[in-house]
Symmetry: C2
Amino acid sequence: MARAKRIEGVLAPVITPFRKDYAPDAERLVRHCRWLLKNGCSGLAVFGTNSEANSMSVPEKRRLLEALIAGGIAPAALMPGTGHCALTDSVELTRAALEMGCAGVLMLPPFYYKNAPDEGLYRNFAEVIERVGDERLQLYLYHIPPVSQVPISLGLIERLLGKYPGIVAGVKDSSGDWSNTKAMLEQFAKSGFDVFAGSEEFLLANMRHGGKGCITATGNINPGPIDNLYRNWRSPDAERQQAAITATRKIVQKQPMIAALKATVAHFGNDPQWKTLRPPLVELNSVQEKDLISELKASGFSMPGLG
Amino acid sequence: MARAKRIEGVLAPVITPFRKDYAPDAERLVRHCRWLLKNGCSGLAVFGTNSEANSMSVPEKRRLLEALIAGGIAPAALMPGTGHCALTDSVELTRAALEMGCAGVLMLPPFYYKNAPDEGLYRNFAEVIERVGDERLQLYLYHIPPVSQVPISLGLIERLLGKYPGIVAGVKDSSGDWSNTKAMLEQFAKSGFDVFAGSEEFLLANMRHGGKGCITATGNINPGPIDNLYRNWRSPDAERQQAAITATRKIVQKQPMIAALKATVAHFGNDPQWKTLRPPLVELNSVQEKDLISELKASGFSMPGLG
């Protein structure tokens, strides 16, 4: 079987709904994924940081992935997060994602041991690739040092890309440091390495330098306008569009991000169960929630067709 | 069934041997555990930081635990690490440890999301305790902010201890900050909360202030002298003993700790396979290894009866 067509454009690290007992809620997840694909997302980076992926076990994630596909979400649109601290967990979920036909996987480095040397991180990714042993694999590296505390260096990318061209397909850069994203673009974009900004704040800059889009938290609630900039980044209106989507993001990130995204979907979709987060994260308090929703409304924000 | 007798004294966060293909090596682990219990350890904190626990999946750890008990290691001596990022993983391994009769469990907080509020960490531990739902549970909190980056605050301990006295049994303080250990002792030792120093460097101080021992990396290679101080902390010789075990530790921690422990066991046990670490960690290079072994030898260090 050939490799899936690479996803480009706007991807949401899809927030995961939980029931009152903190069980993942596959039905609500399928509904939200459908809304996202209909409203601007080209792909779904389920099991990302904003999905509370690391608060779920491998079997829980595997079952959600099966439920998404059974629920009609095209595997060609899926780029699940499959990187864990344990090598064997990363192998298991990556293999499962490939067997289900997912277009790619987004892989965190093992993040418990800080200061792991590049040699050890190289061995981790190489070992996953070798064990999965499937030419269809398209692996996107997930660089998010503010959370993982384990960076993916340019040297590490160079070495992995040299050994596994085609399989090592790109990166999500959530460093928040444009100079790093730019360096990745300059050094690797020509080798077929797809660079996604980790925030729509850098979408226009990323497109201008040869990037492929963004994978962004606020893609969960504002996919239409972000996708519009992605499609029209060469237009004279691009700077204005960039300013508008950045302004929306700024409102949301005044609050803890994942709780804010969930409160937004709960409000605009009229579905309070969405507010639940799995420990160790917690929902917004009532003041935070009121501030968020009133600021969003005042800005003219909407989620058309939700709920 | 009643709760197991609480472990006091010196515990090793037992290093985990891997085969060439990075599979956990249960047979070597049983052998090392036997040596530890014969040479000064009162307990075995398997699946700690120094065990590369977070590089193993829940099923791998469960199988190792079964193999240890099948291999004759008394569950009464076992305090496995069972804290994971995912609530459901922590519940699963904690339940398994209890069913196998382990004396206690040592629990990391969920460590992916940084800045998780105490309320969320409280919910995590409370939810684990409620789901496990077994009065035999003795849970030791694992405070290791230099690695986990998620601290266990005094306020969190107070709240958990108030709600679950007896079940919340103690702490391992690997902050490296004696003033924090002292505060834990002053505030909670009288409530039956057992404080273990996370390094033998603080063993004498911990005993003098009402602590119960230490859970220390170098317990893997130097358990006899550490246990000797634990048993004789009131003796006039205690300060000298403290200086001696601290000096040995200082030699080891010049190198990356886990790799150094494994190189030491490999050398003194004449078993080179012990040198293997699972990615993302790597073995010492030859210079580091030579420096370590020659310094240890020069200091008069030995591992009696190993190999």
